[in-house]
């Protein structure tokens, strides 16, 4: 997860202690905005609106890392849109505006999701999913998938080292050959993930996972006044953005 800057660190800020469900509502609403609007200025505003939250939560460093980590994709999106739209419309201005919008949209999404994942502990997230009546098995699977991403990226590095020691050159050949070069890396990675999944399942079952039909929780998440205030703010901001469309026809 480090690569995307989604690594959660314990924190005590107001954003950290909000109920995951209220942060989730914010995330959904603002994701909807980024998908709905195409005006670059509005998208920039949506993006900027997440910055104060980053500041309050004190996760600036990790947030920057995730933005920086996605710069490559952003450049990719920008260039492809530019070429693609210029090809179809023949207008440089249109192409430029549109590709800026698309890039901003992606950046806003990364920022919004970063705020959520950087300030929400995986345990709380699982618990809130359970309280939202999502079956515990699915909630746990999701949690574990997140948990194993750093393990996986480290393992991929080791496998690459092992194959390079046997003369594999990843950067050799044209684009198709380069993709093929990764087969000796992907196969061990997939096999060892399956092995690990099996091991984890065995380890969990030997510690009586699934023995109790009805699970109870030691900690139960409760929504407090600050949660309702936060949701209220989120909805108000959401409506304010929508009014841009209703009042001024900006989309």
């Amino acid at each position: 997860m480090k690569a995307f800057g989604f690594d959660y660190r314990r924190g005590t800020s107001i954003i950290h202690i909000l109920d995951p469900r209220s942060k989730f509502i914010y995330t959904i609403l603002f994701t909807a905005l980024t998908v709905y609007f195409v005006n670059p200025l509005v998208l920039l505003l949506v993006f900027l609106s997440s910055v104060p939250m980053v500041a309050v939560a004190g996760v600036g460093k990790s947030w920057l890392r995730s933005i920086r980590g996605s710069l490559f994709f952003i450049a990719f999106i920008f260039i492809f849109n530019l070429i693609g739209i210029f090809w179809t419309t023949g207008s440089v201005a249109d192409a430029l505006i549109m590709s800026i919008s698309m890039s901003l949209r992606f950046m806003a999404l990364i920022s919004i999701f970063s705020v959520f994942f950087l300030t929400t502990s995986p345990e709380d997230l699982t618990q809130s999913m359970v309280q939202l009546k999502i079956p515990y098995d699915y909630a746990l699977t999701f949690n574990m998938a997140m948990r194993f991403v750093p393990t996986l990226s480290r393992e991929a590095q080791i496998i690459m080292d092992a194959q390079r020691s046997r003369g594999l050159e990843l950067e050799k050949g044209n684009i198709f050959q380069r993709v093929r070069n990764y087969i000796p890396v992907l196969i061990p990675l997939i096999i060892s993930s399956f092995r690990r999944a099996e091991l984890v399942a065995d380890a969990m079952e030997s510690r009586a996972f699934g023995a109790a039909k009805r699970r109870t929780s030691l900690y139960v998440l409760t929504m407090g006044r600050r949660d309702f205030l936060f949701i209220l703010f989120s909805v108000a901001a959401f409506l304010a953005f929508l009014s841009l469309k209703v009042l001024f026809g900006i989309q």
């Binding site: 080791i158 003369g167 594999l168």
Partner: protein, 271 residues
Amino acid sequence: MISFEDVSYSYSPGRYAIEHINLSIDKGEVVAILGENGAGKTTLIKHINGLLKPQSGSVIVLGMNTKETTVATLARHVGLVFQNPDHQLFAETVEKEIMFALTNFNFPEDEISRRVNWALKEFGLLEYKDRPPFLLSGGERKRLALASVLCYDPQIVILDEPTTGQDYRQKLHLASLIKKLNSESKTVVVVTHDIEFAADFIPRSIIMSKGRIIADGDSEELLTNRELLMSASLIPPQLVELSWDLALNPPTIHFDELVSSVKKLLEGREA
């Protein structure tokens, strides 16, 4: 043949995985690297084929500065077998797995089949030739990983913990393999936690602790040095403990010597 000059490397700022490493290994030497978990052994050997480039200092292998040489070039001369075979096995069959490095290094067709056959026989894998590698047992996978590197006959062979998960017979086989490589004047570096294996079969030991080399020399001398072993959190070989208990002077890592010393003791008693 291999020389490290004041090499340091750190994965994250402020913490060195290896620090001020000075080391030189000649052609035809067999060397063991010992040390606690996280001592920096794997980090050190990854510098020999250029997977890691020194952040300060320099590593010269066969006259090549690793900073200016690609991994592929170095790998042709330096065979590195990783700790966990599951990190490299990927082919559909055992045979194809062994062919992988040979095709990467552009060996001619007939040479490839000759070497594959040699490796299958040498590592007792002939009967599994057409099986998928990941259906082999742990020990067999480990042997396949060895075979898939030794098949291209590198001048320098580096083994990261080759004895883990191997039964005694396979350990003896490994020992005789090392002896054979040595007789072909290959250079062999073995990273191991198996101190008995080092004591029995490897003449030179390098002991690492917390990223530094704390001792380098004759295995017999180092592995009978109580303070040194303690400071590197190493358990002495059983023969050495026995020598200490019997107050033999000097203590030994060789079975024959221990037997003759004990005989002398007994004779002294009878007389």
